[in-house]
């Protein structure tokens, strides 16, 4: 099992506090993501953004959440057999988990390199597969944690503080 974790410098203290306190989420929502369902993919991220907007989260944070979550949702659609999204909303952050049904990432180190992609022609024709998904998630999320192995589920988690 390969694991990668990135915590932005600004979020170190907040993340430590979060893991120590282990608060209960104010709200928790689950979504399904279908394999290659490019018609509906993105709906969950768009709903998460709307929900946070209603809670008064500022536009710059909303953009970061939407971009990171959307890239991750598209990854589940494009590269996996489908999966689930669990979004936990806390008073000071949002924690989104993407759990797919495999087949896992063969080489996680490579997958994190900008420009490296395993996307098929269908995915590329739709404007994806530039190899910028994971780098874009890393750039926008305060915490990004990913674990995967060949023939297993990939679990990607992101946390963004408000």
């Amino acid at each position: 099992m390969a694991v990668y974790c990135n915590i932005s410098e600004d979020a170190q203290q907040k993340y430590e506090h979060f893991t120590k306190e282990k608060p209960d989420p104010e709200m928790s929502i689950e979504y399904k993501v279908g394999h290659k369902d490019f018609v509906n993919s993105g709906k969950a991220s768009s709903e998460i953004k709307l929900m946070l907007k209603r809670l008064g989260v500022n536009p710059e944070i909303l953009r970061k959440v939407a971009v990171a979550s959307y890239e991750a949702e598209i990854n589940v659609t494009a590269h996996s057999l489908g999966g689930d999204i669990i979004c936990d909303i806390y008073l000071d952050c949002v924690h989104i988990k993407f759990i797919d049904n495999g087949p896992g990432i063969k080489n996680l180190e490579k997958a994190l390199e900008p420009g490296w992609s395993t996307a098929d022609d269908l995915v590329r024709e739709m404007g994806f597969g530039a190899g910028l998904g994971l780098p874009n998630i890393k750039k926008n999320a305060d915490v990004m944690h990913i674990e995967s192995a060949e023939n297993q589920s990939t679990i990607l988690q992101i946390i963004i503080f408000y």
């Binding site: 490019f38 991220s45 953009r63 939407a66 971009v67 739709m126 994806f128 910028l132």
Partner: protein
């Protein structure tokens, strides 16, 4: 610059509600790569693209798009036009290429969006 002027400059056709022609457009960005569009747009912008799948409209849920110009004569399916109208998002199609469309708009004073 008003969207009406952009439609004229690109010899384009507005596909969504007519009232969109009065929309004020402040800047633009052009790309056929969705990750690029997500990464590069730090402010509300007009998008020039050759992509016509539902995810292009979905993009406007994530980032602020002032409108979308489909280049190279591409025209999205009717359900995408419906999706755009529901989001109050103007759609325009032009026969010009991405390069030519961008050149015309840039020379007419429409600046590049902040990246």
């Amino acid at each position: 610059m008003k969207l009406r002027e952009i439609v004229e400059l690109l010899d384009g056709v507005l596909l969504t509600d007519a009232e969109h022609l009065d929309r004020e457009i402040t800047c633009a960005f052009g790309s056929d790569l969705i990750s690029d569009i997500l990464m590069c747009t730090k402010e509300a912008t007009l998008l020039l693209t050759g992509l016509t799948n539902p995810q292009v409209i979905r993009l406007s849920d994530m980032i602020d798009l002032l409108g979308i110009i489909f280049v190279r004569g591409k025209k999205p399916a009717d359900d995408l036009i419906e999706m755009a109208n529901a989001r109050d998002l103007p759609l325009i199609t032009t026969k010009f290429t991405l390069y030519k469309s961008a050149g015309i708009l840039y020379n007419s004073g429409l600046r590049s969006c902040k990246i």
